[in-house]
Symmetry: C2
């Protein structure tokens, strides 16, 4: 087992990464402060793992809330199922919520924890590769609004994150690839050494080899933890974590949540960011080819969906949270392993890169 | 103008208290960080004051969201009107929300600010006496759930609070009394000197005399600010602020939001707390008479509603946030001006005090 400590003052917490951790009672109990616990999961993951988790919660009175599965349900009425469950079971402000699921469950359970009685404790048990390397670190919680993704939420830190890589065995291959997109992101944005390791080991990750997975998850969490610790509320360097996300959110919004997976949209978004960086003269053609090759080996989209238009991209990007006072901001690559935030990119360059990517016809909607 | 500084580290903020402040542009502008501002008000207060406020926001692009008035609308669908308004006007995370209204508007606007894009700035302009002395300090924001009041929310501090006592001129007399309940609370729970001042000046407050109002608001905010600064997230001494609230919330829940005003329920709740304190041998009969007399002069209820039953009280109090691990906790008075939190009160004593108060027939539903 590896432990990554996320250093945020009195909101610091550990991430445990290993095999078989779901049944390690002694990992959970020190982070639970009363006898009330509420497991929040979904209808897909719950039936697979909630019994194992319940057995680890020795001596606790455990409530269980199963949410409908999928990004389409990441809204207030689903969130309210958690509040209903907590209030019906008369949970007080000393309760502990446990998120057992992927990013959607983690974001909603985290926001429920942030909001229930103005804040209770929670533990994350991320069950997808993407949530293990992304939402494990950073405290971003929230729900969607019809006019934008993650528009309602809170920055709220868990007491602990418990990552059991055995849970990945039941995950569809597409979800593994989606997680690899975020892992590749950490290499591209600030860890060239890790990028080289990924270029040597990407097939081992696709094949779910334990030691490779534990290393990649640990290194990803360390990368993210370092950045988040420097900028908890996303006013500066943390914006680098949005590499691929400005384009990616536009794809998700246009296609409707749940068509492309978040990680797939981020994969295509990173490709577009690399191509825009080449357009600005920062990346060489060979660099862009390395990015394209790595994404393709991770079985990820390497272009914008051919059904989308440039105008659709621009419309969705202008309500993106990364927009400051009306200016489009991008995270681009000065070099492989070195991302920067740029707000003075010419609109024509953006349009040309988008149009070329769409015209390539390399990516379809699913 | 008086200024009370609420001292919460990097979340500190000033409260300005005076006459005519709504049109003082120079009070607002330093607390607004971009050109985006959204006024959140209700359909009663908005038409009276939103134009004056808009004139003070020189050079800003101002969006306006008018919510339906009343505690019955303090729910997610009303809250969502704020998110709709912000997203339709494409407000980004540098926007500033201004709450123009009473406690309901303040709580919802504050929670909207806490949650919109995971947190944006907000300024409070409380327009009721109760919100001026209560929600101005402490950062409690939130909405109700059918199973409990304020069950969903956040601790979130404003950039500034601007209290213009001129706005009280349009407030119904019942709302003034409700505000006086909270003002009296500060005297009872920890400021015996202020309690004496109130016993000498309560009629001047009922009559809205400016200098008396400014002094009482300032002293109330100072009392609350001192307590909140010592315990921002309500894990200790802040519980004293709930004097009268355990009983009061039960009354509000049973009668339905909007029958008794919050301050009226707190008034009756403080009376019950005083009577329970007498039952435990802490207050003398004369002390209880002083409380009853002061509340009556402030035109507040001095008993539990005669239509309620003891069982209804007990049911509602057991889901109250002040319940720790199933034990009923009360804020009671060791002496006038000295409140304590007690969790070992005998149930029989509580029942007898409630029954006697109900039987007195002194308070009806409105």
């Amino acid at each position: 087992m590896q432990i990554v400590q996320v250093d945020l003052g009195d909101r610091s917490y550990p991430i445990y990464i290993g095999s078989g951790l779901l049944s390690e009672s002694n990992l959970f109990l020190p982070h639970i402060k009363s006898d009330q616990v509420c497991i929040v999961t979904n209808q897909t993951v719950g039936p697979l793992y909630e019994n194992v988790l319940q057995s680890s919660l020795t001596g606790k009175r455990v409530a269980l809330v199963e949410l409908p599965d999928g990004e389409a349900h990441k809204n207030f009425s689903t969130l309210n199922l958690v509040f209903d469950g907590l209030l019906q079971a008369r949970h007080n402000r000393n309760t502990t919520l446990i998120a057992l699921g992927g990013g959607v469950v983690g974001d909603m359970c985290g926001f429920a924890a942030a909001s229930y009685q103005r804040g209770v404790n929670f533990i994350q048990v991320p069950t997808t590769l993407l949530s293990q390397v992304d939402s494990s670190v950073g405290g971003k919680t929230g729900i969607n609004h019809p006019l934008g993704k993650n528009m309602i939420g809170a920055f709220y830190q868990p007491q602990a994150v418990i990552i059991d890589i055995d849970l990945l065995a039941t995950l569809p291959a597409r979800e593994i690839s989606a997680g690899l997109a975020e892992i590749i992101k950490y290499g591209l944005l600030g860890d060239g050494e890790f990028l080289l390791w990924l270029e040597q080991n990407i097939e081992r990750l696709v094949a779910l080899e334990s030691d490779a997975l534990i290393y990649a998850i640990q290194r990803s969490c360390e990368n993210k933890a370092r950045i988040v610790a420097a900028d908890e509320r996303e006013s500066g360097v943390r914006a680098l974590l949005n590499l691929g996300h400005t384009f990616g959110h536009a794809i998700e919004t246009q296609l409707g949540y749940g068509n492309w997976l978040h990680g797939e949209a981020v994969g295509a978004g990173m490709m577009l960011a690399a191509e825009l960086s080449e357009k600005l003269g920062w990346l060489a053609t060979e660099d862009v080819a390395r990015v394209r090759n790595l994404l393709a080996r991770a079985v990820l989209p390497i272009a914008a969906p051919k059904s989308m238009t440039v105008d659709q991209f621009l419309t969705h990007m202008s309500v993106d949270k990364k927009v400051m006072d009306g200016r489009l901001r991008f995270v681009l690559l000065k070099a492989l392993g070195e991302a920067v935030v740029v707000s003075d990119v010419g609109l024509a360059d953006v349009e040309q890169v988008l149009q070329a990517s769409i015209n390539s016809g390399l990516a379809d909607i699913r």
